[in-house]
Amino acid sequence: MSPTIGVVVFPGSNCEHDVVEAVELLGGQARLLWHAEGQLGDVDAVVLPGGFAHGDYLRPGAIARFSPVMAAVTAFAAAGGPVVGICNGFQVLTEAGLLPGALQKNSGLRFLCRPVELRVESPDSVLTTGLERGTTLRLPINHFEGNYLADAATLARLRQDDLVVLRYVDNPNGSADDIAGIRSPEGNVVGLMPHPERAVDPLVGGTDGARLMGALLSAVGVGASV
């Protein structure tokens, strides 16, 4: 059986089918995982998709963090399993403490929905393996709370330890240090605001996202010679 990507569905998630479509297009298998399940089953990687988990009530990700599935995701990540949070999924990962910092309202108070240029800053993550530092990618963003912030010590550590995975070329939302995505020290947990899963088909504006989603699939053995 080919490797399977588990895609978590919270009430209010709305990008889960985009992730499934991207995974399948790139030769992987995907399975939706309802948030109330306490177990992930037999999956090789987990994606927390975009949307408005639990209505984004209180704060984006604040309530999703307490969904039963998150204990399983945390254990999976601790065991080295690949976990990627996209947009709202990134917000959930920071609220759950799997990645540092927080995502605040965009500076300028605009909901942003447009393609942006990003620079790959670290190849040492499950999402960027095989991409060269400095590679630019064009991916859509679609968020109101994408303004990354962390205290000065955390920002210094992110920089020193090469934990920033993606930076905006032209910062759209006020994020500290132009940060668009970060990783755990081990590189298996990644959170990013842009949507790679929405950029895998030339029909809808480019395929740069396939390079990131493809790296994730390679990390779990899709496309490996058998």
């Binding site: 604040a62 927080a102 605040q104 912030l149």
Partner: protein, 86 residues
């Protein structure tokens, strides 16, 4: 004993408050140029069963740390009053 609690969540000092800044920027045009320093937070009301006021406060502060406020960007203050008997 039941206590009524009011929790106020504010953006931490030094963290940008774009919502407050945007509202404040509109004040002069509305004829309120004499008002400033505006910030936006959240007000949350709840009740808590506890043995005394100290225990009630500790329990609500625990909830603030776990859920109601994000310590990266927010701080919470709790006011308590003994609930009126039903």
């Amino acid at each position: 004993m039941r206590f009524d609690a009011a929790v106020e969540i504010r953006t931490k000092e030094g963290i940008a408050d774009p919502e407050g800044a945007t509202i404040e920027a509109a004040l002069p045009a509305l004829g309120f140029a004499d008002i400033g320093g505006l910030s936006v937070g959240k007000s949350i009301r709840l009740w808590v069963e506890a043995a005394d006021e100290g225990a009630a406060r500790a329990r609500v502060e625990e909830l603030c740390a776990a859920l109601l406020a994000n310590p990266v960007m927010e701080e919470a203050s709790v006011s308590l009053a003994q609930a009126a008997p039903a």
